[in-house]
């Protein structure tokens, strides 16, 4: 069929992505509200968690000009979207947008832990947060998934994790759980390249 259009090709988000998508971080105040600042809202059920990490380049250095976007279901496994069966709590958006700190490269967002969601062919996917990563030097945004290391049984049955031929690489998708000052924290470092290169997906 020759009448299909071609997808607009990607170009890097560049070093100044903050101007467009997080202008407060670029150093100026322009919008009444920036988008993606509150993933779960005040009414969402489930466990409140923080997810944090670094994005690390092939040299082993933190990358300090990254923008990350999160897309997740609520604790009942429902996405805030008409093609996901069920309803979400009032104020639950499921979308988050964060940048890495200009000095340390650390990023973090607060949310609720998602529930398992339906997979293909009647399967069930373990709880996960979909992540999209853009930065200077990344020509096409990178997709990965944050899974939770304590979901041992669900992860073992997850059809996407099991698609990864190399069992050693599956661990790159598991966020590590700890508690800090009474807050549940999951650590998820992304390696763009190198021995522990994170699994990235073509979705």
């Amino acid at each position: 069929m020759s009448d299909y259009l071609k997808e607009t090709p990607s170009q890097t988000a560049g070093p100044f992505v903050h101007i467009g998508l997080a202008p407060g971080a670029a150093g100026f105040d322009i919008y009444d509200q920036e988008l993606g600042g509150d993933i779960a809202g005040p009414n969402a059920a489930g466990e409140r968690i923080r997810v944090e990490g670094l994005v690390i380049d092939g040299i082993g250095s933190p990358v300090k000009d990254v923008l990350l976007e999160a897309w997740q279901a609520n604790a009942a496994g429902v996405y805030a979207h008409p093609e996901s069966a069920g309803d979400v709590e009032d104020g639950f958006r499921g979308f988050g947008r964060v940048i890495t700190d200009f000095d340390t490269g650390e990023w973090a967002f607060d949310t609720v832990k998602p529930g398992p969601v339906a997979g293909r062919s009647g399967s069930v996917q373990a709880p996960h947060i979909n992540l999209w990563i853009v930065a200077r030097g990344i020509n096409v945004g990178l997709n990965t998934r944050i899974y939770f290391e304590d979901e041992v049984a669900a992860n073992a049955a997850d059809p996407v994790i099991n698609l990864i031929e190399w069992e050693k690489r599956r661990a790159t998708l598991l966020a590590k759980r700890s508690e800090r000052d009474g807050q549940v924290v999951y650590r998820f470092d992304v390696c763009l390249q190198g021995d522990n290169e994170t699994v990235f997906f073509d979705i």
Partner: protein, 243 residues
């Protein structure tokens, strides 16, 4: 039997830049070496964030004025960027968020990390956002950005460009790209443009002068359509969650 959309068409990776593009030096240490793992779509990929008119302000799309003092306007060549967001089936994508950011007319970004010697324009922020209408149509009013030097080769210059971010209806459609301007001799010299694999892809990222949409004695228009991934339609029940 219902006619329901199903998977998105596979992204044509040969139409996008590869991860490793040595001429664009920063990509060398930031490009994954292993192959991407290809996933068939699930509900996680066919859904995505949605934004409404409660999320943004109508003035956000007017970059001539959205950061200007009262009665003031950004300095530079006044332009309109307009077009439609479509999918690969040539269907409009309505109600989707389009965000834009750019340097000012002198090639300087309003960003604490941009140290280029060209001056900041006090009346220009450099970002805008809008939501497509029922026909997928969008527009921004702004100034034409200037070219600027950057550290790649010693004498590398970016052609005038506007960064665009688009959501579509699904996380699988998420896209960031850059719009260039017809006739700019710097396009062919740019290491970032050269990450594109095919001359037709450069052409697709080049906004065309649009005299019909130009407002006489006021503002020059450029037309730029954006295409997001399309979806298969099927006469069978959507199989993503069943069968």
């Amino acid at each position: 039997m219902t006619l329901s959309p199903a998977e998105f068409y596979q992204r044509d990776r040969e139409w996008h830049p590869p991860a490793l593009t040595t001429g664009y030096k920063t990509s060398v240490a930031r490009s994954p070496k292993y192959s991407l793992i290809s996933l068939e779509n699930t509900v996680s990929e066919i859904t995505g964030p949605r934004f409404g008119h409660g999320d943004i302000d109508p003035l956000d799309k007017d970059m001539l004025h959205n950061y200007a003092a009262d009665g003031q306007s950004a300095i530079g060549e006044r332009i309109i960027i307009h077009g439609r967001v479509l999918d690969e089936n040539a269907r409009p994508v309505p109600d989707t968020l389009v965000e834009a950011w750019q340097a000012n007319a002198g090639g300087r970004y309003r960003h604490k990390k941009d140290m280029y010697l060209a001056p900041i324009d006090p009346n220009f922020g450099g970002c805008g956002r809008t939501i497509t209408d029922a026909d997928g149509y969008y527009y921004f009013r702004t100034v034409k950005p200037g070219a600027y030097p950057w550290r790649n080769w010693v004498n590398s210059w970016r052609p005038a460009h506007i960064h665009l971010s688009v959501f579509g209806t699904a996380f699988a459609q998420r896209l960031i790209t850059q719009l260039y301007f017809e006739g700019d001799p710097l396009i062919a010299k740019c290491p970032i443009v050269k990450t594109l694999p095919d001359p037709a892809t450069v052409e697709q990222l080049t906004a065309k002068l649009d005299m019909n949409a130009t407002i006489p004695l006021d503002t020059i228009a450029y037309k730029f359509d954006i295409v997001l991934r399309g979806r298969r339609s099927t006469l069978f029940e959507n199989r993503l969650e069943g069968n």
